[in-house]
């Protein structure tokens, strides 16, 4: 809920300078000093731990830079980039990441909205149980979460196969069959991260005025009509925020697959970040890994810019 209110403030702030009179030079300078003072500690950390490594990585990407040997001895120009773009393993791992994003994002948006609608209709006195239940998995670290699920997926005695067998159904090779393994990864991710989107939606729902529903009910609108014409449009802001965050989160897939399948079987769940990890740390080729990271970074940047463009257009329309 705080996220959305901050976002609203930011948008309001953006339009205000053009409306306000231009402030005097001295007072503006003093304001800036205070402002910079507040953000300086974070800015320093940001520069040291983010900006500097980003620049260092860019430099690395033009060399045959090795984890264990030479750094800048062997200049390759755009050689690493050309190699990555012609490497079928890069493309297949990128494809795995995109497949995961395309499958997981709609589920994580629609299902969290459905659950939020359901929980919002429940009496406030027992609502906390549901809020807790849906949000609790989100608080687990990826290692704990994958440990739980690797037991559930266990082929011989895991919970899922035991349930299937007791119903007379055959066992499923959850993590060892190509095709199925990626769906299992989506399943655990939905269970794990759904709670965050769910809370954002629930907060949004609770901001919608009851008057709207009462007025529409008087006009004879049923539940579904209310959802379609009042709830969903008024949650537009939440939906866009969730969509932007979710797409970026899904594109960053790594921990779940690395810990559950190591990218297998036959690399069918290896996301592009694991490909970067394998090239850089397992095969010592950090220069190549840096180039691949930059290619992936450009892709994420383009997708994010596209989304922001879409978001700001939506904002202007509404």
């Amino acid at each position: 809920m705080s996220d959305t209110s901050i976002q609203q403030q930011v948008i309001q702030h953006d339009v205000s300078p053009s409306l306000k009179a231009y402030p005097k030079r001295a007072s503006r300078w003093r304001f800036d000093l205070v402002g910079w003072g507040f953000i300086l500690p974070l800015l320093i950390a940001y520069a040291i731990f983010l900006l500097w490594p980003i620049l260092l990585g860019l430099r690395m990407s033009f060399f045959n830079w090795s984890l264990v040997g030479s750094g800048t001895n062997d200049f390759l120009g755009f050689g690493n980039y050309a190699e990555a773009l012609s490497d079928p393993d890069f493309w297949s791992s990128l494809w795995n990441t995109i497949v995961f994003t395309v499958i997981s994002t709609p589920i994580l948006v629609v299902l969290s909205l459905a659950l939020a609608l359901m929980v919002n209709g429940i009496s406030r006195r027992v609502q906390w149980i549901y809020r807790l239940a849906f949000f609790a998995p989100y608080t687990l670290s990826v290692t704990v979460m994958t440990l739980i699920w690797s037991w559930m997926f266990e082929p011989g005695f895991g919970l899922l196969n035991s349930v299937l067998n007791s119903l007379g159904l055959p066992s499923v090779n959850w993590l060892t069959q190509p095709g199925v393994a990626m769906l299992s990864i989506v399943l655990v991710t939905v269970w794990w991260t759904l709670g965050f989107n769910f809370l954002l939606y629930l907060a949004g729902l609770q901001q919608i005025s009851k008057d709207m529903y009462e007025a529409s009910a008087l006009d004879g609108a049923g539940w579904w009509t209310q959802v379609r014409h009042i709830t969903v449009p008024l949650l537009n802001r939440q939906t866009l925020l969730i969509l932007v965050l979710q797409v970026i989160a899904s594109l960053q897939l790594f921990g779940q697959t690395y810990l559950l399948t190591s990218g297998g079987p036959a690399f069918s769940t290896r996301p592009v970040i694991e490909f970067i990890y394998d090239s850089g740390f397992t095969n010592f080729r950090v220069g190549f890994a840096a180039a691949t990271s930059y290619l992936f970074f450009i892709l994420i940047l383009l997708i994010s810019l596209g989304q922001f463009w879409f978001l700001s257009r939506q904002g202007r329309n509404s």
Binding site: N64, E83, T176, N283, F288
Partner: protein, 443 residues
């Protein structure tokens, strides 16, 4: 204090007690460290052993601790495979490596060429009673890089042949002592597998098709015919195509023509198939010996001579000392004492199937009486490791490429020439990558 009535045991008394316990602990710690002024410094040992191997390694560590009560070591077990080698390399590069670690010898050249290993100090090693004479020349040679010893081999673990005694007796394949009659050449082997298949009604031979086994099998067969896969410096693909085709044809015929083996089976499946008596023979590394022990009547022999040689795929576990791991004499002494101490416990290790590299154990009557483990001890001399290259070795990109290429020829998804073509192109792709090492793997 323990006799204090419950009502008197208030908060204050609890705090007093806790403080006293803390003091006692401190005193105890100080006393313990004073008690052994000559105690060796603390060392860390990394290994990748799980399952039975892990249990036997702990047994060896405990025996070493009993013999050397002053020794202070910490053993860390990490998951096998690529992540282990990643951690090992990064710890050495990052300047905080373990004092001793286990590696596969097939990975040794890459690490040595990356300059992250400390060469072994031979005169220093001799002080602990271990010298070149304690190893087979072939094994000693494999532990070298650039003319210097870079590791201390613990074992050789070859690809061998298991057979089900009951099935083979019914198939008429055993001699009067219940030992397998010698089998040699593709026809005799295929015939034996067919006869075993008639007895089991399932398969004659079980072997993993969806995994690294196809590469291990190929490497042994190909070497029996003669030839290399890569040039010694790992920069050229030099496969003898006629020999490779002959070896792969033989493998493909087992699953597709004579159909004595299952064309679609993973590692666990192939082990279970032999373990449940549905196969007369099993081709695999010797490390599954403890899986079958006590559950069935089986025996083991060296991998057969198929094409005129007794070569078979193998790898070795060996101790290494990462660069910077022995900053002072005291740590160095503790590290060498630990490594040689474990080496001398090799008999415990041999129970898991591995051939001890340490000859005083390998030549002992005790080991020779260990059956079926000592049946294939001769393999240590004819073992064929993965070809040396920066991208090869246990759990490497090279093994994955080989496995993905050869699988198809056994499952029937590819012809033998197609499969070799894929092998060539995928290995060539590895060769074409810029080399990330400061020097050649050939030293």
């Amino acid at each position: 204090m323990h006799q204090q009535p419950e009502n008197v045991f208030g908060r204050r008394r609890f705090l007093q007690g806790a403080a006293m316990l803390g003091l006692a602990g401190l005193a105890g710690g100080t006393l313990a460290s004073c008690g052994s002024p000559s105690s060796s410094s603390s060392i860390t040992f990394w290994n990748l052993f799980g399952g039975g191997d892990g249990a036997r390694m702990i047994e060896m560590e405990q025996a070493f601790q009993q013999q050397n009560p002053a020794s202070n070591f910490k053993a860390v077990t990490l998951a096998w495979g690529a992540p282990y080698y990643t951690k090992l390399a990064m710890s050495a590069v990052g300047g905080s490596p373990p004092n001793a670690a286990i590696t596969h010898l097939s990975r040794l050249r890459t690490y040595a060429a990356a300059d992250i290993l400390e060469p072994i100090d031979l005169p220093f090693l001799a002080q602990y009673g271990v010298t070149e004479n304690d190893f087979l020349p072939a094994v000693w040679q494999r532990a070298q890089f650039n003319g210097k010893l870079h590791s201390i081999p613990l074992d050789t673990h070859p690809f061998v042949m298991y057979y089900n005694v009951d099935v083979c007796r019914k198939a008429g394949l055993l001699d009067s002592d219940n030992n397998l009659k010698p089998l040699q050449g593709p026809e005799a082997l295929t015939d034996a597998f067919l006869r075993a298949q008639k007895v089991t009604g399932d398969v004659g031979l079980s072997l993993e098709v969806q995994g690294t086994t196809v590469w291990r099998l190929f490497n042994g067969l190909y070497k029996q015919l003669g030839g290399d896969v890569l040039s010694p410096d790992g920069t050229q693909f030099v496969l003898n195509e006629a020999h490779a085709e002959q070896a792969l044809n033989f493998m493909s015929n087992l699953t597709l023509k004579s159909k004595v083996a299952n064309p679609n089976i993973d590692y666990g499946g192939s082990v279970a198939l032999f373990g449940s008596g549905k196969a007369g023979f099993h081709w695999n590394g010797e490390w599954e010996v403890t899986t079958f022990e006590g559950t069935m009547n089986f025996n083991m022999v060296p991998f057969p001579n198929v094409f005129g040689g007794s070569q078979t795929w193998a790898d070795s576990h060996a101790f290494i000392i990462p660069r910077g791991a022995t900053p002072d004499q005291q740590t160095k002494a503790a590290t060498y004492q630990f490594i040689t101490g474990l080496l001398k416990q090799s008999f415990t290790w041999a129970k898991g199937g591995h051939i001890p590299a340490y000859l005083p154990v390998a030549e002992s009557a005790q080991y020779k009486a260990l059956k079926p483990q000592s049946n294939y001890a001769s393999d240590a001399g004819v073992a064929v490791l993965d070809p040396a290259a920066w991208f090869s070795g246990a759990g490497s990109q090279f093994e994955t490429a080989a496995q993905n290429s050869f699988e198809g020829a056994l499952t029937g998804q590819m012809s033998v020439p197609q499969s070799l073509q894929l092998f060539h192109s995928s290995v060539q792709r590895l060769i074409d990558q810029p080399v990330p090492l400061p020097q050649s793997v050939s030293g």
